[in-house]
Symmetry: C2
Subunit: 108 residues, 2 copies
DNA sequence: TACCACTATACGGTATCACCGAGTAGCAGA
DNA sequence: TCTGCTACTCGGTGATACCGTATAGTGGTA
């Protein structure tokens, strides 16, 4: 699938939140998980900018741990604000996607 | 629903294409139609920027007609390139939204 | 006549977001 | 020593929706 970047704006961050919400994880692993999910063109740099933004906006708790196979990893976990933001994201997604689907199905 | 603007990036233009694809119409009417569809916060200025962009990218055919109740209207209709772009949009939407839904439903 | 409301479009500037590219760094195997 | 994989950072770019304002035609009303 070619160039989804514009369509991912506003949703990719939510996807990252969802992934972090399942279990504490780190940037490099999140990137690979996104690839497996079908977002094959999302590059590492993008994921890290999102993670830094989440950290700046105080939606995550960060813990640095040694890796054993490379540089130390920064593990991310949602805090209360992050879980609220994630809930808001899914509410918005539900709203927007249902309305677009209705439009697609010929809804007026 | 509050502040959907980021999530609409990359999809609003496609929605406008879809609306134009159904019947020749003009900016002011498109705005009201979007409001009825649930995108209540989309303002006129946004729709006009999209329309000017569609025109610049040669995806639409434009006809100016007098209105009777105000200034002349610029009617927009899709041309072949516009119809192709619309089809591409729905393909992308299908791809992206299905994957996000899968993520939402706990799919890894 | 003056004012207001509704219809209708245009445009310069702004914020946000994903992406790009380059850099830094640790570890393992050939 | 060199290559490849792992892992994170950061400055700059382009696309997009939004904001605010301006312009303009028509009709109603005080």
């Amino acid at each position: 699938m070619d160039d989804l970047t514009e369509m991912l704006k506003g949703t990719l961050e939510g996807c990252v939140l969802e992934i972090i919400g399942r279990e504490e994880t780190y940037g490099y692993a999140i990137t690979r998980q996104l690839h497996e999910l079908g977002f094959a063109d999302v590059v590492e740099g993008t994921v890290y900018t999102i993670l830094l933004r989440l950290e700046r906006n105080k939606l995550v708790q960060v813990t640095k741990r040694p890796s054993g196979v490379g540089p130390p990893r920064k593990f991310y976990a949602l805090n209360d604000a992050g879980r609220e933001e994630l809930a808001r994201f899914w509410t918005k997604w539900q709203y927007v996607s249902s309305r677009i689907d209705r439009l697609k199905e010929g809804g007026r």
